[in-house]
């Protein structure tokens, strides 16, 4: 299939959705911080390029290289843990000479979709506990490294991704529910042994924002004020006082949703949520309409990651969830996140417009392709 043929078959709706999200995001990023606006455009150019690459190459080729990519990303995760911490976490690798910091966990986000798809599409025992072992190991090994950094924000996306993908490929619901129950039982252990003091404080602050309003919950309260004072129609672009007075920390990255909600009001925040919802639903729709199992799973993975990330981010900003440090896809300022998100869109478009041989065993229990 030639590139021109592929481009003609592009899933325009998803592309337009993405552009709409990006456009609105840029508009409000300019309000939040004009300096970052121009730097973000640079990342957008790179992001579109990455999207084009991920779109135009054959995703099945990528699936074939999945384990290799996974190994590469994994080694990056190992390397980053050997480097000194920056801003309190070992999450970035500086590319020499450029000043650009790669965030290996973001890279792993992309690779884990590919490797899970690759792993699940080639087997048919997902309905058994044994069949779940391999995907779980594939996911939890990098997850452990990511949590070690610590990068809770990226890490929190991994379990839902796994559950959604194995569920979509045929795992039994009660298996997954048991695992979740076990996870819930492990929470006290996490609290006592794994979580760092600052993370605990975030949870405490989340539970009692008034008491922790000076430090831990400062951001939460400022964010709630920003969202709440937006009202139904918002205070208008550039008019939000929380934004204009720099009272909302991280307003150009993790908390940009607060700026959108303050200046655009409920109308705009609901619109944004609707756009992300449409994106996730479209991704799932693409999955449903794709007969090729690898593509199906990639589409599920991308939808879940983008949709869930938007949900968690807005949940944090509106104080439904404890602060985790998660970006709002396509909007938050930041290179790695932006490029990886666009790669995912590229993959999704790639799947939607792909047409060709099925790369699977005949015994695959999914629906038989026509």
């Amino acid at each position: 299939m030639s590139w021109s043929e592929k481009i003609l078959r592009t899933h325009w709706f998803v592309l337009l959705l993405t552009l709409a999200i990006v456009g609105i995001g840029l508009y409000y990023l300019k309000s939040a911080d004009a300096g970052f606006f121009f730097r973000q455009i640079r990342w957008l150019v790179l992001g579109f390029t990455a999207m084009a690459v991920c779109y135009l190459i054959d995703y099945r080729w990528l699936l074939r290289q999945a384990y290799l990519l996974y190994a590469g990303a994994f080694s990056l995760l190992v390397v980053v843990l050997m480097l000194p911490a920056k801003r309190g976490a070992q999450s970035w690798i500086e590319v020499p000479g450029t000043g650009f910091n790669i965030q290996p966990s973001e890279v792993m986000k992309l690779c884990i979709i590919l490797v899970l798809a690759r792993n699940l599409m080639t087997r048919d025992n997902q309905a058994t506990i044994r069949g779940l072992i391999a995907p779980f190991l594939l996911l939890f090994a990098p997850l452990a490294l990511i949590l070690k950094q610590p990068d809770l924000g990226t890490g929190i996306l991994f379990p839902p991704l796994l559950f959604a993908m194995v569920y979509a490929s045929g795992a039994r619901l009660w298996h997954l529910l048991s695992v979740m129950a076990a996870g819930v039982c492990a929470l006290p252990v996490m609290w006592l042994e794994v979580m760092k003091e600052y993370q605990k404080n975030r949870v405490r602050a989340f539970l009692n924002p008034e008491i922790y309003s000076a430090r831990e919950a400062y951001q939460l309260i400022q964010s709630l004020i920003a969202i709440g004072s937006g009202g139904l129609y918002g205070m208008g672009w550039g008019e939000g006082s929380q934004n204009a007075l720099d009272l909302l920390p991280d307003k150009h990255t993790d908390f940009i949703f607060g700026v959108i909600a303050e200046e655009g009001g409920f109308v705009m925040s609901a619109t944004m949520l609707g756009l992300y919802w449409l994106f996730a639903i479209s991704g799932l729709h693409i999955s449903r309409n794709t007969s090729e199992p690898g593509g199906k799973l990639i589409a599920v993975g991308v939808s879940v990651i983008i949709g869930f990330q938007a949900l968690v981010n807005s949940g944090v900003v509106s104080a439904v969830l404890p602060t985790t440090g998660i970006t709002l896809p396509f909007i938050s300022y930041g290179g790695s996140s932006m490029i990886v998100s666009f790669c995912m869109v590229g993959l999704l478009l790639n799947v939607s417009s792909a047409k060709g041989a099925i790369l699977t065993r005949p015994k695959f229990t999914g629906e038989v392709p026509v």
Binding site: G35, Y218, I227, S229, L245, A270, L284, R288, G307, L311
Partner: protein, 724 residues
């Protein structure tokens, strides 16, 4: 199955997004007003705008103390205390003292937390000034003074480079809670060995304020006093709260009716002014904070303290709103709503003449230095570990009680008090102690004119009554002697004053009687405060009347009659008593505030009748003390006599102990119609005439502009002369 599962996932997403939209609806529609108000509350604050304190002027309008504009560095400690209090954004109460700060910072958990705090990095990165200050204050090698200077320079440079920011409240205000002056922190810095103590400065702000300036420094130190911040203890007492029925409850739960005071800063002022009670909310209860605010500047000592109520002015609470003049620049607070101005304090004009005060001080300085070099004084100085003599000079108008000069040497410079304080406390000469009003000394022979007046006025003696002085008077086994057992023979009151004959006054005291004598001295103002409008006045000592009836021996009357034993007086009391002799019996209220219209200050405290005939006799005796140059000479003739100008006085060499004698000389000038009284005291100065004579002479010469006749006498001829 696969298809259905995708649909199930889609439903799950739909549900989750709907829930999220519901949350947004809750926040942005249902609770919008709540959060909008909360945001507005955080954008506004109440700030106390200090008034400029009133000036203190001398009688010719020259400025003795004034507030000059100044920038202050402030810190907001609530940030460090963390959590609970900080929700109260309008709290300005520095309940967190330096001690607490230290302990908080020393507890490692918090310290680590502070160091890693995002706010710190954020502020230092956002605000170059904060970073620079942190740098400056971190430098351990600098002295406090250097650090202060550099901080001031940095702040000024920074402020002048941002023209459009509102200087009054340039602040990061990320967390604006209570504040304490950073001055305390610079000192605190010295206590901390932690090189990371820059954490303190992450909540700095710079604001406009005033600095008290005393152009004449030490010259007026004792008179002006100085200013300082209300201490936390004082504040605890002073804040109190107003109850609904108009009563005031203080910190201990005591209730005072009708807003009357339960505590006043200045002694003598019994009204406590309530200014703009401000309502704050704390734990749901309404409090009204009255009058004094935390951090308020109050007078300490001197006129600053006595007239604090008039000088302090009124604070106002200003509503301020946070704005950002330029994107990326600092956040500042600007006034919102109706502009409000603090009401500046009123000026206080003093009766002091700075030029004259300066002359008197110079005279004291030079003469005391001369005395301190004399060989016969060395043992006394050594005994009291003094580097030089101290001295007091009071110059008062005998007609209305206005003080023209009040010198207690050594003095202190109120401008440099904070830096010199330790040194001042260590100084054996006690420069902070105002001897003129707070020091009680036996008056010695300076009391004799008062005793003579009592005797003459009561008719116990006449001008011609003679007592025989054999040089010593024996009572039982004790001997009461004249100075050096000098034999004066038969002597009248005039000559007894001239040569300061003790035996004459022993007899006179006996004739008058102890009880009557005490009541006379009391009427002349001894043993009670003179009522001068300066804080810290001593009342001196006079035997109580009741006491005179019980165990009073004749020997004690003897002692009392020559100003020894059970009597102490301040130099100011002696000046007041002499003024009463000079003006016919009016016991004036000495005062330093110039306000001829004020009846409180200008009405005599009591009036006695001292007949002109009596005055004439006593005046003649006192005239001879200064002027009688034939043998036997007056006791002060040698150093005090001025050719061509007549005045009168009485010396005193008051024995403090066997070895220590205080030198006194109280003078009235001019002789015929006295205008001023000059009371000079040199503690441990031994002989009154010798030690104080030159001082009094030069003061009188200075006052009457007799400078052309002023002459320097040889100081090596110290022996001889009259008796004390």
């Amino acid at each position: 199955m696969f298809r259905r599962r995708t649909i199930i996932l889609a439903f799950l997403f739909t549900a989750a997004f709907l829930a999220m939209a519901g949350r947004m609806w809750q926040l942005q529609v249902l609770k919008a007003d709540y959060y909008r108000q909360m945001g507005q509350k955080r954008l506004h604050r109440l700030r106390q705008i200090p008034p400029a304190r009133g000036r203190i002027l001398d009688r010719r309008g020259r400025v003795l103390a004034e507030d000059v504009p100044n920038f202050e560095l402030w810190l907001k400690p609530a940030y460090y205390k963390g959590s609970r209090r900080s929700s109260n954004i309008t709290g300005y109460f520095p309940e967190l003292g330096p001690d607490e700060l230290i302990s908080i910072l020393k507890s490692t958990g918090n310290e680590r937390e502070l160091k890693s705090s995002l706010a710190l990095g954020y502020l230092q990165q956002k605000d170059p000034l904060v970073a620079r200050l942190a740098q400056i204050l971190k430098n351990k090698d600098e002295t406090i003074a250097d650090a202060r200077q550099r901080v001031a320079q940095a702040v000024l440079a920074s402020l002048t480079s941002r023209e459009d920011t509102e200087l009054h409240s340039f602040t990061d205000s990320r967390l604006c809670f209570s504040e304490i002056p950073v001055k305390a922190l610079i000192e605190l810095e010295q206590l901390m060995a932690d090189p990371h103590s820059e954490v303190y400065f992450s909540a700095l702000s710079v604001r406009g304020g005033y600095k008290r300036n005393y152009p004449y420094g030490a010259l007026m130190g004792h008179l002006t006093g100085y200013t300082g911040q209300l201490s936390q203890d004082e504040y605890r007492v002073l804040r109190g709260r107003w109850l609904d029925d108009g009563t005031l409850e203080d910190g201990e739960g005591k209730i005072v009716k009708n807003g009357k005071t339960f505590f006043s800063l200045a002694e003598g002022s019994d009204e406590f002014e309530m200014i703009q009670p401000r309502v704050i909310r704390r734990s749901g209860v309404q409090h009204r904070v009255k009058g004094y605010f935390a951090n308020e500047i109050v007078g300490r000592g001197g006129v600053e303290q006595w007239y604090n109520d008039e000088l302090r002015g009124r604070h106002v609470w200003r509503i301020e709103q946070m704005v950002k003049p330029e994107p990326g620049g600092p956040r500042v607070f600007v006034e919102a709503g109706v502009p409000r101005q603090a009401v500046n304090g009123s000026d206080i004009t003093l009766t002091i003449d700075v030029d004259f005060q300066k002359k008197v001080t110079q005279i004291m300085d030079t003469e005391l230095a001369k005395l301190s070099r004399l060989p016969e004084h060395q043992s006394a100085l050594r005994r009291h570990k003094l580097t030089g003599f101290t001295g007091v000079a009071v110059v008062m108008d005998v007609r209305n009680g206005e003080i023209y000069a009040l010198v207690s040497d050594p003095s202190f410079d109120p401008n440099a008090l904070s830096t010199d304080f330790a040194k001042l406390l260590k100084d054996e000469r006690k420069p902070l102690f105002n001897r003129a009003i707070s020091g009680s000394y036996p008056p010695g022979s300076t009391l004799k004119p008062l005793v003579a007046t009592a005797g003459l006025e009561e008719g116990k003696i006449t001008e011609h009554t003679e007592f025989n002085c054999p040089g010593v008077l024996t009572l039982g086994q004790r001997e009461y002697v004249c100075m050096n057992r000098h034999v004066h023979g038969d002597i009248t009151v005039v000559d007894a004053l001239k040569v300061s004959c003790n035996v004459y006054f022993y007899h006179l005291g006996e004739t008058i009687g102890g009880k009557l004598l005490v009541s006379w001295l009391s009427a002349l103002g001894l043993g009670r405060e003179s009522g001068i409008d300066l804080p810290g006045e001593a009342s001196g000592h006079l035997p109580a009347k009741a006491f005179t009836g019980i165990r009073w021996s004749l020997g004690e009357t003897y002692h009392l009659a020559i100003g020894q034993g059970a009597i102490d007086a301040t130099p100011l009391q002696m000046a007041t008593a002499y003024a009463a002799l000079a003006n016919g019996g009016d016991l004036l209220r000495p005062h330093v505030r110039y306000d001829p219209a004020d009846p409180e200050l200008n009405t005599p405290r009591s009036k006695m009748r001292i007949s002109p005939a009596v005055t004439k006799v006593v005046d003649e005796g006192m005239w001879k003390v200064i002027q009688w140059d034939e043998y036997p000479r007056g006791t002060a003739v040698k150093f005090a006599k001025i050719d061509g100008f007549e005045y009168m006085g009485k010396t005193g060499s008051a024995q403090k102990s066997k070895r220590d004698t205080h030198a006194w000389l109280c003078a009235l000038a001019p002789y015929k119609k006295p205008e001023i009284v000059v009371a000079v005291l040199v503690p441990f100065g031994n002989h009154g005439g010798n030690s104080c004579g030159a001082i009094v002479r030069r003061i009188v010469e200075a006052y009457f502009n007799l400078n052309d006749r002023e002459r320097e006498r040889e100081t090596d001829k110290q022996d001889g002369g009259g008796l004390g």
